[in-house]
């Protein structure tokens, strides 16, 4: 594989000193690629992202074992202030805008890691990717639609010049057309800005469409990995994450007995 930007080696994460969420997760993120992290709810995808971005700390979580190497530097348990300044920005799940700030003020908060430097060019860049935001730049974020907000929080992250962008469920609660548009833009950002992206998604089909490589997580472990094309054709992934395929094909429910395919990896 090409040069690796981020390497996670066998990390364990524990919340509040007792609840173990990740049990030895390893993954590699090559430079300038999109890596997607799939899995059902509670599999530990978000926790993996937070272990990288340092946001575990305020939630009383800790990396107890293993190593996270970013460009060769260890990241485990460093503060989010330090990690964001290395160029790793996480876009939180559920959008989390600053509701009482206008769109443009929201974007300006994205410059926190390089406070005092000019930011006009970056605003233009963000408006270039997300023209909707330009129209609404004076509006309070609290009054914008879900699609606009998702674009806003991604634009806000872009303002920080990220080298590694961690996207947590960008498709959450959005209409299919909007989801398609957002994923098109993610692919463009990756291609044009050379930004490496880790993409956590429930919507495996569209994630594998734009990702180069994928990992499947379950119960705090990586259970499968491979290039997107390989994963898309894998019968297990098809059955459990892409829907259809596998047992009996269409109309499986009408047959007297419908067997659920056993997960091979367990």
């Amino acid at each position: 594989m090409e040069d690796t930007l981020l390497e996670i080696n066998n990390i364990s994460v524990v919340y509040a000193d007792v609840i173990q969420v990740l049990k030895g997760v390893s993954l590699q993120v090559p430079n300038r690629r999109i890596v997607s992290l799939l899995g059902s709810n509670g599999a530990g995808k978000t926790t993996t992202l937070k272990a990288v971005s340092g946001l575990l700390k305020p939630e009383n979580g800790r990396v107890t074992d293993g190593a996270i190497l970013y460009e060769g530097h260890p990241l485990e348990n460093r503060s989010p202030e330090q990690i964001t300044r290395l160029g790793i920005i996480q876009v939180l799940e559920g959008r989390q805008p600053f509701k009482y700030l206008t769109i443009e003020e929201n974007l300006r908060v994205g410059t926190a890691t390089r406070w005092g430097k000019p930011y006009r060019k970056d605003l233009e860049l963000v408006y270039h990717y997300f023209p909707v935001l330009w129209d609404r730049r004076k509006a309070l974020a609290g009054y914008c639609s879900g699609g606009e907000l998702q674009m806003l929080v991604m634009g806000r992250a872009l303002m920080a010049h990220p080298k590694l962008l961690l996207l947590d469920e960008p498709s959450l609660g959005l209409a299919p057309l909007v989801v398609e548009e957002i994923f098109r833009i993610i692919a463009r950002i990756n291609g044009e800005q050379q930004t490496t992206i880790i993409l956590v998604e429930q919507n495996a089909r569209i994630a594998l469409e734009i990702a180069h490589y994928g990992y499947v997580m379950e119960n705090g472990k990586i259970v499968m990995e491979g290039a997107s094309e390989t994963l898309k054709d894998n019968p297990d992934v098809k059955e459990f994450y892409l829907g259809g395929g596998g047992a009996g094909g269409p109309g499986a429910y009408q047959q007297p007995k419908s067997y659920r395919r056993r997960k091979r990896w367990l």
Partner: protein
């Protein structure tokens, strides 16, 4: 009518000072959800430090003023750094109790150093501030209160609206987790808001001291008056704090003038209770933006 306008002017100028000190209080609450019970003591501290710098150290007025304000800012910064930061992540009630303890400690310290007697600040305000037109007379202290009030409100308004640091402070107040994810230095924002709050408190302390003389008990009692002011204006609205301050100031002046001076301290609370029945968020409190 003359009497009415005279009362109104007096009330407004005291109201500006209430508004200013309430603004600092609101700033701390907005960024870190902490109610600062030591606010009155910060006011008193500002006034006493100014007094000593002027009469003991014999600094010229201007320098004494600047030095006091800088000192207050640094003190606020240090309070956050040494007393509050270790409690980040602990339940909020601990932090609030800590400010109660801090209030007792500061008051003890003030009494120990300066004693409990009423002292007076030298009158240093220039003569042009004494405004007299016909029957209306605005004494220089009241004029100074109005000028300082307006100046600081405009300055802070611009700071929060346009400066990067001001926007970061508002972002932390709005959504701390998101601010953290973008690399906003949240602890620095807390420290900054304590610093600014202490600075503004010290400033209002000096002017209140000029008005009524300074004593530890009187000035720290003003800290309590901050509560009706901020609740009236809405706990998380800075402009609300100012308007709340003006309302309470004017109310006090009118009650003192028309009813009886002994009712002065009661009426604000009565108004407060009535208002809360009608508008539980306060006059300008944030009504939650809720997306359904």
């Amino acid at each position: 009518m003359d009497f009415f306008i005279q009362l109104l002017v007096n009330g407004l100028s005291v109201g500006f000072l209430y508004g200013l000190s309430a603004m600092g209080f609101v700033m701390i609450f907005k960024s870190s959800s902490v109610l600062n019970f030591a606010h009155g003591e910060l006011l008193a501290l500002g006034a006493f430090v100014f007094l000593s710098l002027h009469s003991v150290v014999q600094l010229p007025i201007g320098w004494a003023f600047l030095a006091t304000l800088t000192g207050c800012f640094v003190l606020g910064f240090l309070i956050e750094r040494f007393f509050l930061r270790p409690l980040i992540g602990e339940p909020l009630i601990y932090v609030i109790m800590l400010t109660v303890g801090l209030a007792a400690m500061l008051r003890g310290l003030l009494l120990l150093i300066w004693g409990g007697n009423l002292r007076t600040l030298p009158d240093f305000l220039p003569a042009w501030m004494d405004i007299q037109s016909g029957w209306l007379r605005i004494p220089p202290v009241y004029m100074a209160a109005i000028l300082v009030g307006v100046l600081f409100l405009v300055l802070f308004g611009l700071f929060f609206k346009y400066s990067a640091q001001g926007i970061f402070m508002r972002s932390v107040a709005d959504n701390q987790r998101a601010a953290l994810s973008l690399g906003v230095h949240v602890r620095r924002v807390f420290a900054l808001s304590w610093g600014i709050a202490a600075l503004v408190a010290g400033m209002s302390g000096i002017i209140l001291g000029l008005m009524n003389g300074i004593s530890v008990h009187d000035l720290s009692a003003v800290g309590l008056k901050v509560f009706p002011v901020v609740i009236l204006g809405g706990l998380n609205s800075i402009s609300g704090a100012v308007i709340g301050g003006l309302i309470i100031g004017v109310l006090e002046a009118f009650t003192g003038g028309y009813l009886s001076p002994s009712l002065r301290d009661v009426v604000p609370y009565i108004v407060l209770v009535v208002l809360l029945l009608v508008r539980p968020y306060g006059l300008f409190g944030l009504v939650e933006i809720e997306r359904v």
